[in-house]
Amino acid sequence: MKHTLISLSVTASMLGSLAMAENVEANNFRDGFLKGDVTWADVETRAKSEGTVNLYYWGGSDPINIWMDQIVTADLAKLGVTLNPVRITGTKDAIDLVLAEKGSGKGLGEGSVDAIWLNGENFATLKRQDALFGAFADKMPNSKFIEWNAEDPRSLLNLRDFGVETGAAEAPWSGEQYVCAINTARVDKAEAPSTFEGLQAYLTTNPGKFTYVKPPHYIGNTFVQSAIYAHNPDGTGAAALQAPIGEIGAEEFARLITPGIEYLKNLEPLLLGGQKGNARYPEDNAALDGMFLNGEVDFACKFGLYAVATGLNNGTYPEGAEGFVFPEGNMIKNKNYLAIPSNAPNPAAAMVMANYMTSVEAQTSKLKFTGMPPGVDPWKLDEAQVQALTAASPGLVGVTQAELDANTAPDTNATLVDVIEATWLEYIERDSSDDIATIVARAVENLK
């Protein structure tokens, strides 16, 4: 219904706006800023006259919402900008809106979305549709806290988002790692599996005590990706899956992912509910957390470096919860970002907001309130700033930072994620009788 309405309004406004001129003044501002002719003081002045910033973000977390309302709103008000937090149930809703408005001819200064919290496929979509404001993230004063030097391998998470070049069109906001938690009240920690083979062995003796979020939810996709890394037939892990699908080719890609997908297919009867022939995949984080809390499953995996500490704090995790290293060497790490769309109504206010969000002050209070790890790079900070962040951290439970760092893997290229999703849905959910190579070839063809 909502989509129908959106499309309806699109068509209606399309008719009205064909003759409408682009907002020349806003475009001049953008071109000037991207060329470096506009100083940051000018941006701040313009932001004050724009007055409001419409930030679209996933509103499913109470701590984040409270932090936005109590801290961010107050701090931005000091800069003369009113924060309008638009809480959405899925980031894609904001992307839909941007593209719909772009399709109806609304340019810079005329849309309704100023900034979006996103990463991965959603960013790739905006980039593919040429719906981004431009390379602002390395031109903000606080971009000094972020590693942009391509020669430093640690800059990878800032320069590439799911293998897609960010081009500084999005500002790193938070960095996450995929961490699994074990309920030590039910399972001895010594029994915790550290490899996919170990997981399968554990589930053979304790059937039904594990499940993962259903793809195409990104939490589920990530689990599938790490299984694919671990079963890479060449043993090259994540490295082989960083290039876009066009470069790898459907046939080669199918060869790379087949062992991982087959593993998940074999795992299905051992998952929660799988013994009755109907494995249950939770729809999202919250559903999985509920199963973990209720003792329906013994392990739960999601993005959340500090998820265990936060979950223990607010009671969404069972009392015995602890983090553990799984899968060895393939704990996917990525960042999430703030992007400004090409038709932002208040681009200067959006940049002021993004600059504030990358400040050490905001990063510290965010970490303290929400448990979201910092998106700025610690080696770019001074001693006192690092100290402030460390003090605000809810802390790791059951794992050490060194263990996490030693087992890091990058995310898969965004164009591959679409194919992996489609393959999982077809081969595992729909139980297709076609072989993986055929399914991959079809998915690649469809996504062109």
Binding site: S7, G103, S104, G273, M291, L293, L447
Partner: protein, 302 residues
Amino acid sequence: MSPNKTKELARHRKERIWMWLQVLPVLTVLVVLFGGALVLAVMQSLGFAPWFGVNTFPDFSFFRALWGEWSFWYSLGLTLYYAIVSTLIALVMGIILALAMVRFFPGKTLYKYLYKLPLMIPYTVGIALAVIMLGNGGMLSRLMEFVGLIDDPSEFPQILKSHYGWGIIAVYVWKQTPFVTLTIYAVLLGVGRETEEAAAILGASKSQTFFQVTLPQILPGIISSTLIIFAFNIGAFEAPFILGGGYPDTLPVIAWRYFNDADYSLQLQGMATVVSIAMIAGIILYTYLALYRRYERKIGRN
């Protein structure tokens, strides 16, 4: 022209303008919002979506892809199963309750308010109640664990998240029984009890009275209330999404999944699903009404 006639014509014109004024607001909403959306939905499902860079209108491939898959028909079966079973249960319970309501029993005044309670509570709250009470890890499972019937909340029999759909049906029945009762009760109050009494005096048994006297009288209420709840059940999304058994999902959930996919080309497939639901629901409801009209004409009602 005589002044009288002119006056009458003017009065007629005024009346006609007044009539249009009365009809216009609803008509506008129907034609512009509903009609417009429907036309766009059909066009999109046939490949018209220039804002995603897709324009292959008219193109039936989305329907072909959808209908060509066995899972679509399985999903249709599930959708109809949830809709029909819950409508039937709500109908039977509603009739029984309505018949009880026209008689006197102690506490009736209070009960008259009590039974309407679910009408005022939103579906989502009903769904949340089902999750809290009936889920694995819900109140009932925890109680059973507490008294030692099961070792672990997760061993509780699975009521929700299964393709039998007990959770979905429970929520629908809980919410819709009062609605059916209300409609039939109103009809019963309208027809009075004289005919029933006459039948009893003439020696009809209880079941004869019900099937040959009461049922034909309340039939309009039955038809209108089942029509409304069935139309809702076949298109509803939340209950099967939250309480359903996962793949294969009901048709509205499938449509939602297509819309929510990062791959934009699937939105057209989603539109084809929505249009299919509308078509199927339309055909069923139309047939239902047509059969009822034929029956009415047969018994001489107009």
